[in-house]
Amino acid sequence: MNNFEYKQATDAIDATDAVAASEDAMFIAGGTNLVDLWKYNLVHPKLLVDINHLHNHKHITELENGGLRLGALVTNADTAYHPLVEERYPLLSKAILAGASPQIRNMATNGGNLLQRTRCYYFYDPDVPCNKREPGSGCPAMEGYNRIHAILGASDQCIAVFPSDMCVALAALGAVVNVSGNNGERSIPFTDFHRLPGDAPDIDNHLHHGDLITSIDLPVRGFAQNYSYLKLRDRHSYAFALVSVATALELDGGIIRDARLALGGVAHKPWRMHEAESVLIGRTADEATFAAAAEVILADAKGFKYNNFKIELARRAIIRNGMMALNPETQLPGAQPSA
């Protein structure tokens, strides 16, 4: 753990200027991942810029187009329990409440949720190589204990997975991330925000140093009638997903008119595939239909010695979660399997 300086930013420009001025400066909001990474000696900031006083980004507001804007500094708990989120985007509410613990959700912010690092145990162990921590040093996970690792989109450099639950729902819903940086403001579609490891696994997303997430926009359609988030893990609660599934359906007399399907815990980013969603559209909402979508989304899945089970687990989770989406009112706390 290194020493660092601390500064409270007064507004977004003050914050981005302060961080952009030094390669060793970082934003801090909830701190739930950053403080931990610092304690593990994985990040070495010389300056932490506290953005908790940027009050413009602490609200949830309705957009003129009928969507909803989630301020980057609203906590995960306040987002999940916000009446408009619960009413119009219950899939997002359920996904958030399946993640972390109540204490962490009270601290963690929406912007920070997108920026959390992988929980790959080799990444956290400074005594072993890791291409994400030290590019070019190697990846012991590939030949090691890889139970929690990727089955989709991995590279020969890195098989780590992105741990967020909230982001799986945001990908499924087609959210947009608003960013303020040195070159002005820009908006990034959610599925383009995170990146695959490729040959640069140390880079998790498409932000540049000094870019600040200011808000996340939800589109009008929230799939509030038929949705489900299912999270399968080694512990009943307060554990990261081995596999999670976000399913959102628009039904017309048992026929699927529109569908969203995204997976968590399986790749370096939330995994959404339009081809798999297309398979669902126009078909009866039953187990055979969800199985057909699972075949498509998992067609290129590749397991390793200790996580091969995840491919079949994901297939079954997609089917089960599709059926759960037909009866959202029967869903259990903590995104557990229900009938």
């Binding site: 753990m1 601390y6 304690k39 908790n52 708990a77 972390a100 109540p102 009270n106 609660s237 706390p333």
Partner: protein
């Protein structure tokens, strides 16, 4: 060094801290309020749970400088003088601890959870208390104690 003010258990403290001092260390080492426990120090066990501006948070992952001016309640501030808080009394009656190390965090977390008002069923309570681990295995007693207070009308 930064000078900060913390209102802990309704008492005002002014203290100088370095930027990297956690709220947990500030409470324990500087204010000598050692009721709040350091378990894992990584946000995995919940032993360090305190209420900050009314919300349950993990003091181990909180930098003290970021809470300048905040109201903090620790286990030392839960009772009313010599009268135990209903949750404290219920924990005794239900054998809700063995070694006791997780207990301050469990009770602060339960106070926060009951204030949040989101738990309806026993299953909800279990899910919403999952951030506090008990390695002695007193979880059944812990949930029984919380349920009794919740069913009995909650907090005064």
């Amino acid at each position: 060094m930064t000078t900060i003010v913390l209102n802990v258990n309704q008492r005002r403290y002014s203290l100088q801290v370095l930027p990297w001092v956690s709220l947990l260390d500030a409470l324990r080492e500087r204010l000598k309020l050692t009721g709040t426990k350091k378990g894992c120090d990584h946000g995995q066990c919940g032993a360090c749970t305190v209420l900050c501006d009314g919300k349950r948070i993990l003091s181990c992952l909180t930098l003290a400088v970021m809470k300048d001016g905040s109201d903090v309640t620790t286990i030392e501030g839960i009772a009313s003088g010599d009268d135990l808080h209903p949750l404290q009394q219920a924990f005794i009656e239900h054998d809700a601890f063995q070694c006791g190390y997780c207990t301050p965090g469990q009770i602060c977390s339960a106070v926060g959870m009951l204030n949040e008002g989101k738990a309806r069923t026993r299953e909800d309570v279990k899910e919403l208390m999952s951030g506090n681990l008990c390695r002695c295995g007193a979880n059944t007693g812990i949930i029984n104690a919380i349920m009794e207070v919740k069913e009995g009308g909650g907090l005064e």
